[in-house]
């Protein structure tokens, strides 16, 4: 299905209305404060709309859907943690109340009041580095969504003849550049006032799109169906993992005891239960299932009888595929158990062989000692049988006994050697069997993966599960949720624009549950996509876990609703882009350029500088954002780039606001050490093999640990070195709550 005129009308009306409203607000901008924080006149409900709209962009919808696609509902864990963090902060005013009362425009400005100008500049640099890199993928990810949801090829392009050479322009790049141009126009002209008004309109359109799409997906998939099918998909992943792990373990054990040369046979290699013929049959089932689903989809808009028949065929094929997958998973688990048994048998044989070898060694040693004793006794007998004295019969007997003992022990040593050799032979055999079992387990794992079309589902409900995300990941996400809620400049921009600290706290409380839906609802779209592609045997070519959701929406959304969803996602993208552009431009002016100026700029000069910076970041996004390939998952990229400053600035904020002993030494140490974790992760993982890479959880948790350690140790060392404690914020703002 492609876009109909109704869909186009909805999209165009939205775009024109939103741009006109944004440009109209330009008339209210008089100075930098109006431009950056809307004259601090934002009230509660407008703040809720703006914060919610800014924090949900297409990129948000895409990565949360990707997490739903790979981890089911457990992928929405960050939303629940974010909600709890917002409630906690909204009730206590932790960080945000004193921050708002300090009367600053950006977070680094607060650091100047507390730690001095150099800390403000360094913090501003880190904020910009993390923030702008983080924003770098917004356009490309957003463009992919729009292309897939509209049923267009994301690589489609047209050729423009230019100076006899010609220029190839991609539709994705052109669409996103045009969208960014609209955002730039109203953000440059109206600043935060335009952003607030357009955020409000975007909140309405985006909210409608999210509610309608979520209801449609739940209706199409069926909630009970969703809850019952996800564990089945997870079982297949567990079977794959068990078979792969068992194969690796058996192979490693076999290699350890009996290294195999290249080209050597690995023992008795039995054929796997899945013969090539069986595999081909299962592949055919998957292919037929995909074709049947396509026919059913095409027939759905035609003759009802034909559609019903096609749906029945598709359902039958899907059931066959399910049965084949279940059988493959069962076989993989059985083969994995065989491989584990073979590994255990090998380990037992190895232990017995080691014991036999030890016994043989001890026996040989005893025989050697006895032989030596016999030799000594013989020597003694010879020296005592000199011509001057008669040979002593007692000595002869002693020599004889020693010789007999030595011969007996030598026989025992021979027996022990034979036993050890037999055990070594058994180990060799067991190693061969373990290798064969590893081969079978590997085949079974490959088979499970191929029949699942490469799709895999982590534990779909329990984020603490070992087969899911795990406890360490949840802990890291909880810390990140608190740090994001108190440190992320685009969120804090709404706190600083609020009328007072009480309004800021109220905005947090009211927006808190929005975070659950922010991750949960697009997560459900991702789950819908997973189940859809699971039923038809895998993802089509050119589609991956990130783009599966829009490809799925394209197949299920009816005329009109598709237009609404596209308008909603355009709204989400525009509100996020405008909010982020304005925030980072303000930080660059306020914290990097401002402190370096000898003479403050005039109001007109300040406005012109901030507007130029908004434009410059926009240009950077066009070139970096559209042509940069994301290394790995979108969420990983966002968390890692965000972590460059999240951990360090969070520890700085807590230190600045709540610890009188904090000083500039601690602040600088926290900034540098907090950035080491994510930067090490980026550099090390780019150069080492996959099995030696640092996990994101370790990198993330260490960033927080290092930043806080830097703040405490640095401040303590600074005090010993004679640095004075930071300035008192209450004195500098005169307005603590």
């Amino acid at each position: 299905m492609t876009l109909t005129p109704l869909d186009w009308i909805i999209i165009v009306v939205y775009l024109v209305g939103c741009s006109a409203a944004g440009i109209w607000m330009r008339r209210y901008v008089r100075n930098v404060e109006d431009f950056a924080v809307a004259g601090r006149e934002m009230d509660l409900n407008l703040g809720v709309a703006s914060l919610a709209a800014t924090e949900v962009g297409i990129v948000t919808v895409m990565y949360t859907a990707q997490m739903g696609f790979t981890d089911g509902l457990a992928g929405a864990t960050f939303g629940v943690l974010g909600c709890l963090a917002m409630i906690l902060i909204g009730c206590t005013g932790f960080v945000i109340a004193p921050l708002r009362n300090a009367g600053v425009i950006t977070i680094p400005e607060l650091f100047e009041k507390r730690f001095g100008k150099h800390v403000r500049w360094l913090a501003g640099l880190v904020v910009i580095l993390g923030g702008v890199l983080n924003m770098g993928i917004f356009l490309s990810v957003g463009g992919k969504f729009l292309m897939f949801v509209a049923g267009l090829d994301p690589k489609a392009a047209f050729h423009v003849p230019l100076l006899g050479q010609g220029l190839t322009l991609g539709y994705l790049e052109l669409t996103m550049t045009a969208l960014l141009a609209i955002v730039l126009i109203y953000t440059v002209l109206g600043g935060m006032i335009s952003v607030l008004i357009t955020d409000y309109l975007q909140f309405i359109v985006m909210g409608m799109g999210i509610v309608v799409t979520s209801a449609l997906v739940i209706w199409t998939v069926g909630w009970s169906n969703l809850v019952s099918q996800l564990p089945e998909a997870h079982k297949v992943k567990v079977a794959y993992q068990e078979a792969s792990d068992a194969a690796a373990e058996a192979r490693a054990a076999a290699e350890k005891v009996a290294p195999q040369g290249k080209g050597e046979s690995g023992g008795s290699k039995e054929p796997s239960a899945s013969t090539p013929g069986e595999k081909a049959r299962l592949a055919e089932i998957a292919r037929k299932s995909m074709v049947a689903a396509g026919i059913a989809r095409d027939a759905a808009s035609g003759d009802p009888k034909e559609a019903e028949a096609a749906a029945a065929v598709a359902a039958r094929r899907a059931a066959e595929l399910d049965a084949a997958r279940t059988a493959a998973a069962k076989e993989a688990i059985a083969v994995a158990a065989d491989a584990q048994r073979a590994t255990e048998a090998l380990n037992d044989a190895e232990k017995e062989a080691a014991a036999a070898a030890k016994k043989a060694q001890e026996s040989a040693l005893a025989a050697l000692r006895a032989a030596l004793r016999a030799e000594v006794a013989e020597q003694a007998a010879q020296s005592s049988s000199t011509p001057s004295s008669n040979p002593a019969p007692a000595v002869d007997q002693k020599t004889l006994a020693a010789r007999q003992d030595a011969e007996r022990l030598e026989r025992l040593a021979d027996e022990a050697r034979r036993a050890a050799n037999q055990q070594a032979e058994k180990v060799k055999q067991a190693a061969g069997e373990a290798r064969a079992a590893a081969d079978r387990a590997e085949q079974a794992a490959e088979h499970v993966q191929s029949i699942s079309g490469g799709l895999a589902m982590g534990h779909p409900f329990n984020p603490f599960s070992r087969s899911g995300k795990g406890f360490g990941w949840v802990l890291w996400q909880a810390l990140t949720a608190i740090a994001v809620s108190t440190t992320w400049q685009t969120t804090i921009a709404r706190v600083l624009a609020a009328r007072d600290a009480a309004t800021a706290k109220q905005i947090y409380r009211r927006t808190s549950f929005y975070y659950v839906g922010r991750f949960g609802l697009p997560g459900v779209w991702g789950i819908g996509a997973f189940l859809y592609f699971w039923a038809i045997g895998g993802l089509p070519e050119g589609t991956e876990s990130l783009t599966a959701m829009p490809a799925y929406l394209h197949t299920v959304l009816p005329v009109g609703i598709l237009g609404l969803v596209i308008a909603a996602m355009l709204a989400a993208e525009m509100s996020t882009d405008s909010g982020y552009l304005l925030t980072w431009a303000t930080v660059i002016y306020n914290d990097l350029i401002g402190p370096c100026l000898r003479k403050p700029l005039s109001t007109r000069g300040k406005l012109l500088t901030v507007r130029t910076l908004v434009l410059a970041i926009g240009l950077f996004l066009v070139f970096y954002g559209l042509w940069y390939e994301i290394p790995g998952g979108a969420w990983d990229y966002l968390v890692i780039t965000g972590n460059i400053y999240l951990a360090s600035l969070f520890s700085l904020l807590v230190g600045a606001l709540y610890w009188r002993g904090a000083n500039s030494w601690g602040a600088v140490s926290a900034i540098l050490l907090g950035a080491i974790g994510p930067l090490t992760f980026l550099v090390v993982n780019a150069v080492v093999e996959k099995e030696h890479q640092i996990s994101p959880t370790v990198a993330g948790l260490s960033a927080f640990g290092l930043a806080f350690a830097g703040m405490i140790v640095g401040s303590t060392v600074g005090r010993v070195m004679g640095a004075r404690d930071g300035y008192d914020l209450e004195q500098s703002s005169g307005e603590q709550q």
């Binding site: 607000m25 209210y28 008089r30 100075n31 930098v32 404060e33 109006d34 809307a38 004259g39 601090r40 006149e41 934002m42 009230d43 509660l44 409900n45 407008l46 809720v48 709309a49 919610a52 509902l73 457990a74 929405a76 629940v80 708002r100 009362n101 009367g103 600053v104 425009i105 006032i193 607030l196 008004i197 409000y200 909140f203 309405i204 909210g207 409608m208 999210i210 509610v211 979520s214 209801a215 739940i218 909630w223 809850v227 564990p231 409900f461 329990n462 009328r499 007072d500 549950f513 929005y514 659950v516 839906g517 949960g520 609802l521 459900v524 109001t603 307005e735």
Partner: protein, 59 residues
């Protein structure tokens, strides 16, 4: 047992989210419109505050 608890938890979260989004849409939609009206009126008045400071206490 734990899995069942998580299933119920996520079911409640997802349906509550749909309801909450629907509610916010109307509630914030109406009241946010009023906030915009108030803000534009306040911004139309001549500037009274300093550029970097917050609103004076009690204002």
């Amino acid at each position: 047992m734990i899995d069942d608890a998580f299933k119920w938890f996520w079911t409640a979260m997802v349906f509550a989210s749909v309801a909450w989004y629907g509610y916010l849409l109307f509630h914030v939609g109406i009241r946010g419109g009023w906030d915009i009206y108030r803000m534009t009126r306040a911004l139309s008045r001549p500037a009274e505050k300093s550029e970097s400071g917050g609103r004076p206490p009690g204002a």
